[in-house]
């Protein structure tokens, strides 16, 4: 393999990894706060991609306005999902909410098939993102640089909210002790809505960038990226935002690099993530950066 080829693979891996990371954060935040695996998260990601598609094709909005609108709409959907499907089950056994999330996932997928039709739609991409540029012989899409930078900015913004603001403090408190946090005057429902909103906003950003990278969207497009991002979250240590980022990047690199170095294995590409999941669950179930799960006394 030549150096230029390696650099191209490197950027591919970085792009894919950052997208996994963005989606993984939504799983990890919801898990951190409610101990719930939100299986509908991958479908929320898909909604983000469709919203950007329609703001362009039906409403002819400028791309950047579409992006903002799509992110807002998707966050809104995430918040509604929590309200409708998880909040009523807050005091029920955890398995009920988990099953509810699987139900929501099927519901969104099928609703999307009805509303958007099952026919894949081609996404129109802004020229400046897809005009190949050449730097010292390395041919690269501006997208492959823009996506990781965008992800970095979004993650930095999220970490700022979580670690430097009052709602962030409340989020971190709720993750350990809901009752005590309420006794301090925190409206837990608002903070949980905010968590779903933020997680879904990142998923929307992920969906929009995913559609730039793989410009064909269809109602089940959230399935595999969703599952893989979930694996990334487990790999990094579910509940930890930093872990989700590390897990996402790692998974992106493993997938791209294995295929790059062993092209014969490319048919098994999707299996790597699942093998990795099994290995991590066997060796270190708390993930790379996850904390021990202590039982509350």
């Amino acid at each position: 393999m030549t150096l230029t080829m390696f650099i191209q693979h490197f950027f591919n891996a970085l792009t894919l990894g950052s997208l996994y990371a963005l989606i993984a954060i939504g799983y990890t935040m919801v898990y951190g706060i409610l101990r719930l695996i939100n299986f509908a998260h991958g479908d929320v990601f898909m909604l983000g991609a469709y919203f950007i598609f329609y703001t362009g094709t039906i409403f002819h909005l400028p791309w950047i306005v579409g992006v903002i609108l799509a992110i807002i709409l998707t966050s809104f959907c995430g918040v509604i999902v929590e309200r409708a499907a998880y909040r009523p089950l807050r005091d029920a056994p955890r398995i009920s909410a988990l099953i509810s999330s699987i139900g929501v996932s099927f519901f969104i997928e099928n609703l999307a098939i009805v509303v958007f039709t099952g026919i894949p739609k081609p996404v129109v991409r802004p020229d400046w993102l897809v005009k190949i540029i050449q730097i010292r012989g390395v041919r690269i899409l501006p997208l492959a640089i823009a996506v990781p930078i965008m992800c970095f900015v979004l993650v930095a913004g999220l970490l700022f909210i979580v670690y430097k603001t009052k709602p962030g403090l409340a989020m971190r408190a709720i993750s350990k002790d809901i009752e005590t946090t309420r006794l301090m005057g925190v409206s837990v429902n608002k903070i949980i809505s905010l968590t779903f909103g933020l997680g879904s906003a990142l998923a929307a950003a992920g969906g929009i960038m995913w559609a730039l990278r793989y410009p064909q969207i269809q109602p089940l497009m959230g399935l595999i990226p969703g599952l893989k991002a979930f694996i990334a979250a487990v790999l990094g240590g579910i509940g930890s935002i930093q872990g989700a980022v590390v897990g996402g990047l790692l998974l992106g690199f493993i997938e791209i690099m294995i295929v790059a170095f062993f092209p014969g294995l490319s048919g098994y590409k999707d299996a790597f993530a699942f093998i990795l999941l099994i290995v991590i669950l066997l060796i270190k179930p708390t993930g790379l950066m996850g904390e021990k799960i202590e039982e509350k006394v």
């Binding site: 408190a173 006794l183 005057g185 837990v188």
Partner: protein, 238 residues
Amino acid sequence: MLKVEGLHVYYGGIHAVKGINIEVPRGKIVTLIGANGAGKSSTIRAVSGLLKQTKGTISYNGNGENRNILGLSPENIVRRGIVMCPEGRRILPHLTVFENLMLGAYTRNDKKAIKKDLDWVYDLFPRMKERTWQKGGTLSGGEQQMLAVGRAIMSAPEVIMLDEPSLGLAPLLVKEVFDIIGQINAEGKTVLLVEQNAYAALKIADYAYVLEVGNIVLEGPGKELLEDQRVKEAYLGG
């Protein structure tokens, strides 16, 4: 300031508090003593809004209003100036001492007044100041109790309810905690204190109630109950 009338608390089929009346006058220390399972925690948890299956009225005359607060959510009740320092401290182990204190001040936006209360807490508990950036979970049991009390103060309450603040503390620390409760009261905070350490509680209380399996069986000024034969036998070791 706080008047509990005919309060009942249920847990499914269990009738834990059976129509009790308690009055907490402004600026006083009132204590609720009783054995394990008497219903002390249930009573103040009902006042904080944590319990759903309740009956009766809790009139609160503070925060510029006079109304029944039973049925309001905990966050609403804290905003009205009634805070509870829960049984077993319940500090957040993964947050720093400072973050725990700031969580206490969650409902407030008045930066200057928050800073003033923070200085007051550091004054009451100099050890909290030394440990500002330490994780709550690394504090000793006694320090965690101080943090829990400090956190409650940070919400700028009119009424502060403490659930067994002396639990698991060495005698010297118990004395320190009770001294501090006295100081907090001297600063104008009304205190409702739940205790198993009847002796220490009766000594500082203006008025006391004795709770037995969900009923109030005795009440009176703290000093009087300290001399009461029945109290001596049941709670002060004869």
